[in-house]
């Protein structure tokens, strides 16, 4: 009885030993060399696998960083300058200065501004509505309000405002990964330069129709009247396809265009309230 047990143990141990030796040699033969730096770089990255850098995930991006000659075009929008700086230090390279960005919705078509003309009772999916028909309003460019962007956001930086029916972007949480930009079938979310105190001036409209039809569809549509273009001293405003665009990199936040816009399609956000205008008191003189 005891010999059976002994033989079994010896046999199994021998098999294990032989297998281990074989496996060791196979592992040596087919060994894939992986730069240990990749692991180190990956450890520095935020590990959210959002794809904002344009790669499949953080590991993929780390590989690209290690292989790259310089960091041109490589940037982790989530980590931003601090993370990229550390990675650069580790790899002995220089990180180019990349301005932080933030997602901005280029539409202000709340039901108040943009009346609904039909009722959609189908699937709650912007892509489907966009391919099916114009949407519940008469604007074929604006927000459809079914929240594809909100579902695409992995950082909880977006939610739908039930009153306006438009998505709201929380600046502090937005990492500018661009997932919402890709998710939007109407391409009305833009990544714009993040300014001090989250101040923003932008044309909250994407309507490329001529003034008349655009205005009929939405009260706050850009009608390409050129007033903002004329008032801007910094060449930050361009008008193309019946639509004004403010370049966030050139804009100096002087707010002149906001005052000038007749439809109110230029929006200013997070500014301190304006000083009340000193109205000229005209005294009625009675004789």
């Amino acid at each position: 009885m005891s010999s059976t047990v002994l033989i079994t143990i010896i046999c199994l141990s021998l098999i294990a030993l032989i297998s281990a030796v074989i496996l060791y040699f196979i592992a040596q033969k087919f060994k894939i060399f992986e730069d240990p730096k990749i692991d180190e770089v990956q450890a520095l990255l935020p590990a959210v696998n959002c794809g904002g850098c344009g790669f499949a995930g953080c590991r993929n991006f780390a590989e690209a960083l290690v292989k790259a000659k310089d960091f041109e075009g490589l940037n982790c929008p989530v980590g931003g300058a601090p993370v990229m700086g550390e990675v650069a230090k580790l790899l002995g390279k220089e990180a180019p200065v990349v301005e932080p960005l933030v997602a901005v919705l280029l539409c202000n078509g709340s039901p108040e501004n943009r009346p609904h003309t039909s009722k959609y009772d189908g699937v709650s999916d912007c892509r489907i509505v966009n391919s099916l028909y114009i949407g519940e309003t008469d604007c074929s460019y604006g927000c459809l309000g079914l929240g594809d962007c909100v579902r695409a956001c992995k950082f909880d930086a977006m939610h739908m405002n039930t009153e306006t029916g438009l998505p709201v972007i929380i600046d502090e949480k937005c990492v500018s990964c661009g997932a919402c930009v890709k998710a939007c079938p109407r391409n009305i979310i833009e990544l714009r330069k993040k300014a001090k105190k989250d101040r923003k001036i932008y044309v909250a409209c994407s309507n490329c129709d001529k003034g008349g039809p655009a205005r009929r569809a939405c009260k706050v549509a850009c009608i390409a009247c050129n007033k903002c273009f004329n008032v801007c001293e910094f060449n930050a405003i361009t008008i193309e396809n019946n639509l004004a665009y403010i370049d966030a990199f050139k804009c100096t936040f002087c707010r002149k265009c906001v005052n000038e816009c007749p439809t109110g399609s230029i929006v200013e956000l997070n500014f301190p309230p304006r000083k009340p205008k000193v109205e000229l008191q005209t005294e009625v003189t009675t004789v």
Partner: protein, 443 residues
């Protein structure tokens, strides 16, 4: 009785207007004629603002081979060339004409006399169809001259004429067969001559026994034309299903009817071809069914292209109070209108007003894996799977599952007991896959 073997449904027929004779809708005060009423390149406008046009005059010229001419459906003055919304609500270029009188182009034969003798040669017939703006009037609006042009190396043996009208409610083809039977048969003979075939089969579902009788009697006088009754089943009017039902040939995935030596045309198209070739009358008028359960006077009308849908509804007694949705086309494949001022176009086969209670969507539940959608799919696809793949953006996988074969007949959505929006997602997946493959070709 013949039918296609795979899948299909039989929705309530509701052919309310089967007995109402086709009437002529009065010419409206103004028309809006879009330049893209067909599949393919939009036509380019050749008239200017302020020009006077006659009924039947070309106002937009065909651009490229898969494209066709657009004619003025009224006489009057071009008010403007601007964008107008189509059934989907999106804007496209259109010619706005203010009507003054009704003066037709002189070359059009306006007499009622039926012309039997076909003078034109095969090539001339195809050219005439192209010039006259003939498109498939079954609803797909594919330019007919393209289908008549048999490419070298391919042979057409049989012409199939689609008189199925499998969509519920619609009766425009049915009435046309009853009232213009002889014209249709001459049209079929013209199409046979253009295709150089000896045999034509007209397929009609047996819920239209009067049309079957009428055409069978008339067909005796015509060489090579036979009429076949078919069992009522939707989507029998689809090209591939009709070919399978009538001549038992299967068009392979991604191929055309010509690959099984057949060409399919609609009865409406045959009538339009007759008018174009024998009467010199281009396509600027078509039969439209206006129907609905609570509509006061549903009926069939000859409507000038570009007439606002609102005029048609007015003629039928106005919008009933309980209307929930107005659909252009059949109830299975049609689209809801966003605005009743959109014009009737070449592809408008019917306008249906659905009351509340019938127009709403079912509440969506989870998929219970009953497999009903698979059993009704006429193309042997797996709708539940295709939906899930599109929902999760797995478009490469959807392509492998032949999502592009889907003809969007809607049987799956119709039959789903959980009311799942199968077709909505499949359509999305299909368009994405088509875009993807096109990009691949460009690369």
């Amino acid at each position: 009785m013949k039918t296609f073997p795979l899948g299909g449904v039989h929705p309530p027929e509701n052919k309310l207007t089967a007995n109402s004779q086709i009437q002529y809708l009065p010419v409206p005060e103004s028309v809006i004629i879009p330049v893209s009423q067909h599949i393919g390149a939009p036509a380019s406008v050749i008239v200017n603002k302020g020009d006077t046009v006659k009924t039947g005059q070309v106002i937009a010229e065909s651009k490229g081979f898969v494209s066709t001419n657009i004619h003025s459906s009224v006489s009057g003055k071009v008010n403007k060339i601007d964008t107008a919304i189509d059934t989907s609500g999106y804007k496209q270029t259109a010619v706005f004409i203010d009507v003054e009188g009704d003066e037709w182009v002189e070359s059009i034969d306006r007499s009622d006399k039926i012309k039997t003798e076909i003078r034109l040669s095969s090539g001339d017939i195809i050219k005439k169809c192209h010039e006259s703006g003939i498109v498939g009037l079954g609803g797909a609006t594919f330019p007919s001259h393209v289908k008549l042009n048999v490419p070298a190396g391919k042979k057409c043996e049989v012409l199939i004429i689609n008189g199925v009208e499998c969509e519920p409610y619609l009766t425009s083809d049915h009435r046309l067969m009853l009232e213009k039977g002889e014209e249709i048969l001459i049209g079929v003979t013209i199409l046979m001559k253009a295709l150089k075939v000896e045999k034509a089969i007209i397929g009609i579902e047996n819920n239209k026994p009067d049309a079957i009788d009428h055409l069978t009697k008339l067909a005796v006088q015509f060489h090579g034309i036979s009429v076949h009754p078919l069992k009522v089943k939707y989507p029998q009017g689809a090209e591939k299903q009709l070919i399978k039902a009538l001549i038992n040939r299967e068009v392979p995935s991604g191929r055309l009817p010509l690959d099984v030596n057949a060409v399919v045309h609609n009865v409406g198209t045959a009538f339009a071809v007759y008018e174009a070739v024998q009467k010199n009358k281009p396509l600027f008028e078509r039969v439209v069914t206006i129907t609905g359960k609570s509509l006061a006077k549903p009926g069939n009308y000859f409507v000038r292209i570009g007439t606002p849908v609102s005029k048609l509804i007015e003629a039928a007694g106005g919008i009933p109070e309980d209307t929930g949705k107005i659909v252009s086309g059949g109830p299975m494949m049609g689209k809801s209108l966003v605005n009743i001022n959109v014009p009737v176009v070449k592809g408008t086969s019917g306008i249906i007003l659905f009351p509340h209670g019938e127009s709403e969507r079912m509440e969506t539940g989870p998929c219970i894996r009953c497999g009903k959608c698979i059993s009704v799919c006429a193309l042997n696809l797996e709708p539940y799977l295709l939906m899930m793949l599109s929902l999760r953006s797995l478009f490469e996988r959807a392509e492998k599952e032949h999502i592009t074969d889907c003809m969007e007949c809607g049987c799956c959505s119709y039959t789903c007991p959980a009311g799942r929006p199968l077709l909505d997602y499949i359509r999305l997946g299909k368009s994405t896959v088509i875009k993807m493959t096109r990009e691949r070709v460009v690369k």
